[in-house]
């Protein structure tokens, strides 16, 4: 059975639930970076990303009983990390006006550009409102469906679609490429 070549996340979760530290470590080594990357892309801050990814992992361990064994563990903690990153932004007084995620505060995630590179696409992505970046990250990096994103961010599916469209239009229009 090809699907069993590598221990499935569900099997590792079962071992983690039974108290296996090895399984917890394996899950962490396997999935923390992706959660961190997603949180970093949304927050634009390594420090915030680390906090969010770590908290998401802790939350996930505390909620293993609710984990769907047929799913992969990675997207689960990635969306939790992204959600936490957005919560951090909302708590930031400078970003309070971004509650709907559809407006920009005129700031740019410079740390994100420093890592991604100062090209047009990276700069446009870094200039997007965090709410729009979150939708793009969850949609195209974590590969969640719009309904899954809506559930993760607690927003209507229509809002997911509108944020995605606006974000892509922004990227597409300003860098002159086509989809």
């Amino acid at each position: 059975m090809v699907g069993l070549l590598r221990p499935r996340d569900g099997e590792l979760v079962a071992r983690a639930r039974s108290g296996s530290r090895d399984a917890i470590e394996t899950l962490a080594r396997r999935h923390l970076t992706r959660a961190w990357r997603a949180a970093f892309a949304v927050s634009g801050s390594r420090e915030v990303a680390e906090d969010c990814a770590q908290d998401a992992f802790i939350d996930a361990l505390g909620a293993l009983d609710r984990f769907d064994q047929s799913r992969e563990f990675g997207p689960w903690i990635a969306k939790m990390a992204v959600n936490r990153a957005l919560q951090v932004h909302r708590r930031d007084a400078r970003l309070e006006s971004l509650e709907d995620g559809d407006t920009t505060d005129g700031t740019t995630a410079e740390e994100l550009i420093a890592v991604l590179g100062d090209d047009d696409l990276s700069r446009r992505l870094a200039e997007l409102p965090p709410g729009q970046r979150a939708v793009l990250v969850l949609r195209y990096w974590i590969d969640l469906s719009p309904s899954e994103i809506a559930d993760a961010l607690d927003i209507p599916v229509g809002t997911v679609h509108s944020r995605e469209k606006r974000a892509l239009d922004t990227l597409r229009g300003q860098i002159g490429t086509t989809t």
Partner: protein, 415 residues
């Protein structure tokens, strides 16, 4: 390239989160959700071992302690073993019955290994290369884990099925048939070590082959060379230094010789599973090529991560996975074809693609089924099967033996 494709590619520019961060997160998670006492003891022991190793400056083959042992002198030669497998016979698990052998031409059936109480189920039957034995896993309910657990079993002509037992091993992760005889390599671990044992299927005698001093979380798997003359496996070094750049040690260990250790740089921590080229000359591991027959093997990076890599049958191409993306490239890292599967990241999985025998097609397993793609990228990926089993199995003879959550349900319920 479209905006969406560029956006997807951007993620690869982001660095690894860093092992120091991972260590902190794991420690915080363990602190928030402490494992049972048994595992805490294991962690304390692991830390002690790691500290001892740091003092000892662990590098290369010094990390390893090989325990290849010849059979005891004077041990009687094993009696000739009858072939158990009928020509062309297919073995499959049947719910409530056991492992059933089916002649695909006549349809005749026989029970190869009955599932008897307290057996919960049997699954994954794999014939030895010489057809003398059948290996499979049998599930039992573990009262401590409260989930069914499985172990490897062997059955041969005129013999009852018997479990493979490695004395003192805490857990068994994989068992793999040698491609040339009836020997299985069993990978498992105990008390902070990953271990590999060789088991003679005829006698069930186990011989220690290799013992690594390393973390138990490493998913060590013995990978036989195509000719069955050597085994490759990996050891994670980064856990000792805290830096991912320390990478891993890939070990190539002949059955009748000394192990060769090759230091591998790695962008992520965790075990790597090496893949032999079809001619047994090279190993692909962690995005690098290793000449396994060189006097002092070294790793030559290809420039690509090459996760879930699989060699084409003629050894000229490598297929690798990155979520729903399948890349087919040359061994030198030259990107040839990129194929996007119509699945989401969360359902893509990371299992290696499997080449067709003629090297023209690839079967790509995902959680949404197995997709068939053309190696040259032509045409759209086609859903071939909603199940994860198919005939072009890339690692013949490998039996996964992991704790299994939920009730096992073999795919073939007919009886």
């Amino acid at each position: 390239m479209s905006v969406i494709e560029e956006l997807i590619a951007l993620e690869d520019r982001l660095p690894h989160a860093g092992s120091a961060f991972e260590d902190r997160a794991i420690a915080a998670a363990i602190s928030a959700h402490p494992p049972r006492r048994r595992n805490r003891r294991r962690w304390v022991l692991g830390l002690s071992l790691a500290a001892a190793l740091l003092v000892a400056t662990v590098v290369g083959a010094g990390l390893l302690r090989s325990h290849t042992k010849p059979p005891p002198p004077g041990h009687p030669a094993p009696a000739p073993v009858k072939t158990f497998r009928h020509p062309g016979e297919v073995a499959m698990p049947v719910r409530g019955v056991g492992i059933v052998g089916i002649d695909p031409k006549t349809g005749s059936r026989r029970i190869l290994a009955p599932c008897t109480a307290p057996c919960v189920a049997v699954d994954d039957p794999i014939w030895s290369a010489n057809g003398q034995f059948l290996m499979f896993r049998e599930f039992h309910r573990d009262p401590a884990l409260k989930v069914p657990v499985s172990g490897p079993y062997l059955v041969g002509s005129g013999q009852a099925a018997a479990p493979v037992v490695i004395p003192g091993l805490d857990f068994v992760e994989f068992a793999a048939w040698s491609p040339r005889d009836a020997t299985i390599a069993v990978s498992g671990g105990r008390k902070g070590h990953a271990e590999i044992w060789l088991v003679d299927a005829a006698t069930l005698r186990a011989t220690a082959f290799a013992r690594t001093i390393g973390p138990t979380f490493a998913e060590t798997m013995a990978v036989w060379s195509p000719d069955g003359g050597a085994i490759a496996y990996s050891v994670d070094l980064s856990v000792f230094s805290g830096e991912p750049a320390e990478g891993q040690v890939l070990v190539v260990q002949p059955l009748d010789g000394q192990p060769h250790a090759v230091t591998m740089l790695r962008r992520e921590r965790g075990a790597i599973w090496p893949t032999w080229s079809p001619n047994g000359r090279h190993l692909l591991a962690n995005g690098a090529i290793v000449d396994a027959q060189a006097p002092s093997p070294t790793a030559t990076p290809t420039g690509h991560a090459l996760d879930g890599a699989a060699w084409s049958p003629d050894g000229t191409l490598i297929a690798s996975r990155s979520g729903p993306t399948l890349n087919v490239s040359g061994p030198d890292g030259t990107r040839v074809v990129t194929i996007r599967l119509p699945v989401t990241w969360g359902r893509a999985g990371s299992w290696p693609a499997v080449w067709s025998p003629d090297g023209r097609q690839l079967a790509v397993p995902t959680q949404d089924g197995t997709f068939l793609v053309q190696a040259d990228g032509r045409g759209a990926p086609r859903l071939m099967s909603s199940h994860d089993a198919f005939a072009w199995f890339q690692r013949p003879g490998v039996l996964p033996v992991m704790p299994f959550f939920g009730d096992p349900q073999p795919d073939h319920p007919f009886a």
